[in-house]
């Protein structure tokens, strides 16, 4: 995937670093997202997701590395990048005095492309009142309006930075429907950052897990789910685990029970574990995206 020609890459980050004082928010992050994919960007709070996204949008200066968005460097061509990217941040700060129609008319004037028909369809889908002021809208309605503004200029890349945080399941569902409808119709690339793993799993075909500004894993969702397993081994009396199998992400020992989460799991993983450790019993447990995410993050923190 990373070897795709540059014109087929929606996003390319190579060794990108961002520091705030002495704190490293993004640490030599390298990531490629091909065009036409839906990429789920996962990470705990403070992992560096929003900082990375702001650098992609040309809203924050990077301290090192190179960044390309749709073949453009956001540090040099921020306006050209913004014209081709639809962005919905976590918190919405559309001018509070604007009415829905005023916000639309303002954005229509500043974007080089604007699809009035799509805008009208989305307004209808989200049941937004054109005369309502932003200040009088609920949080869900403002996010819907932000999504209308982000999609109506037919962006090649849609960047959603945890916009659904704090929204009720009904609104989240409506927003996801809106995004999916737009993406299916236009083959857009999506970068979707969220804590709600169910939403990510529904929308994304590839995910990346980031913590402390470093990418821990990048894989398509199906492969990740099928090759990441939790191995439960019961140790023999008096024995202690010595050598975890290759690809161990995280291990926990609870009395005689040894839980090892392994990436790139194969039957050979169990043989390797049995050969190197005194174990009585070995089980393989399928785990979901949420457990995989937690184990990657906790495993990284335990090893740090």
């Amino acid at each position: 995937m990373t070897d795709a020609p540059i014109q087929e890459r929606a996003i390319e980050l190579v060794g990108v670093t961002k520091r705030f004082g002495n704190e490293v928010a993004v640490d030599e992050l390298t990531l490629t997202i091909p065009k036409g994919t839906a990429f789920g960007f996962l990470g705990p709070n403070g992992a560096g997701k929003t900082t990375t996204i702001k650098m992609l949008m040309g809203m924050l200066r990077r301290d090192g590395g190179t960044t390309y968005v749709l073949g453009l460097d956001p540090a040099l061509d921020a306006v050209a990048v913004k014209a081709r990217v639809g962005y919905v941040p976590e918190q919405q700060f559309i001018h509070r005095w604007m009415r829905t129609r005023e916000a639309i008319s303002y954005c229509r004037a500043v974007f080089p492309v604007w699809n009035d028909q799509l805008c009208a369809e989305l307004l209808k889908l989200f049941e937004l009142d054109e005369n309502k002021k932003v200040i009088h809208m609920s949080k869900g309605m403002v996010v819907k309006l932000a999504l209308v503004l982000a999609l109506s200029h037919e962006p090649e890349l849609l960047v959603l930075d945890e916009p659904m945080a704090g929204l009720d399941p009904v609104v989240r569902e409506e927003l996801l429907d809106g995004v999916l409808q737009s993406v299916c119709d236009r083959e857009q690339t999506i970068l979707f950052s969220s804590h709600t793993l169910g939403d990510v799993q529904r929308l994304a075909d590839t995910i990346g897990i980031i913590d402390h500004g470093r990418l821990l894993v990048r894989s398509d969702v199906d492969t990740l789910l099928s090759t990441t397993k939790r191995v439960r081994a019961v140790m023999k009396d008096g024995a202690a685990p010595t050598t975890p199998p290759d690809g161990t992400i995280r291990q926990q020992l609870k009395q005689r029970e040894w839980l090892v989460t392994v990436k790139d799991f194969t039957p050979n993983t169990i043989e390797q574990l049995r050969a190197a450790n005194e174990v009585d019993l070995v089980d393989v447990i399928d785990i979901g995206l949420e457990d995989i995410f937690k184990d990657y993050v906790r495993g990284r923190r335990a090893s740090a």
């Binding site: 200066r61 921020a78 001018h95 509070r96």
Partner: protein, 232 residues
């Protein structure tokens, strides 16, 4: 550009209303005073006419406009950071140059409207009536305009990086007090032996020169900082 101008006008609506008050209230009060004290109730020793009233009202309005200048410039950039709408603007494809132009046109436009209206009324009423001398009127205009320029420039500079428009406006007002106070102190120490009238002129000229150059320098510095800034 039209959309940005509309947004800036709408965003500054409270300051446009304030400008209207600064412009109209002195004249409204002057009108009431003239109606109350027009002949035969006026004192023969103090003839009160429409031209006298409008000259006083115009000066009053221009004096108030100095403070307005600080608030208009202070709100230009910091206002959007205060309500965080700058973050919304930051992801729209608008060049910093275009954003700057719309902000500068609206901010300078508000001030120009107040000044043009006041000077227009003064000209319409036939200039400075007795007992005012044209030289005094022009001195007052020079003082008001240069003070307003310094307040505007300093507030503009602070607005380019501040998060609170009130702080930026406050910096503009404070700068005038600091400059004026320092010059008064220097004039007292340096020329202690000379009469007040004698030493007033050079320091007045120095005050005007420093206000104008400082205001312009701060406006340019604030503009450069805003244009180069990547963050909202």
């Amino acid at each position: 550009m039209k959309a940005q101008l509309w947004k800036e006008l709408r965003r500054n609506i409270h300051l446009i209303i304030a400008a209207g008050i600064v412009l109209l209230v002195p004249y409204a009060i002057a009108t009431v005073v003239v109606l109350l004290y027009e002949p035969p109730r006026a004192l023969p020793s103090r003839p009160f006419s429409w031209s006298v009233a409008t000259t006083i009202a115009g000066n009053w309005s221009l004096a108030l406009s100095m403070v307005l200048a600080a608030f208009v410039a202070g709100n230009a950039m910091a206002g959007e950071r205060a309500d965080r709408s700058a973050e919304f603007e930051a992801y729209l494809p608008i060049t910093r140059g275009r954003a700057f132009r719309s902000k500068a046109i609206v901010a300078i436009g508000i001030m120009a409207a107040v000044w043009i209206a006041n000077l227009g009324v003064w000209l319409l009423m036939g200039g400075s009536p007795a007992p005012f001398k044209p030289a005094d009127y022009f001195a007052a205009i020079a003082f008001f305009s240069c003070t307003a320029a310094l307040m505007f420039g300093v507030a503009w500079l602070f607005s380019s990086f501040a998060r609170a428009p009130g702080n930026a406006a406050g910096a503009g007002i404070l700068a005038v007090f600091l400059l004026g106070g320092t010059l008064m102190l220097i004039s007292y120490v340096v020329d202690a032996g000379r009469a007040v009238e004698e030493k007033r002129l050079p320091f007045a000229i120095l005050y005007i020169a420093l206000c104008c150059s400082g205001g312009i320098a701060c406006f340019i510095a604030g503009t450069m900082h805003y244009l180069r800034r990547v963050e909202p």
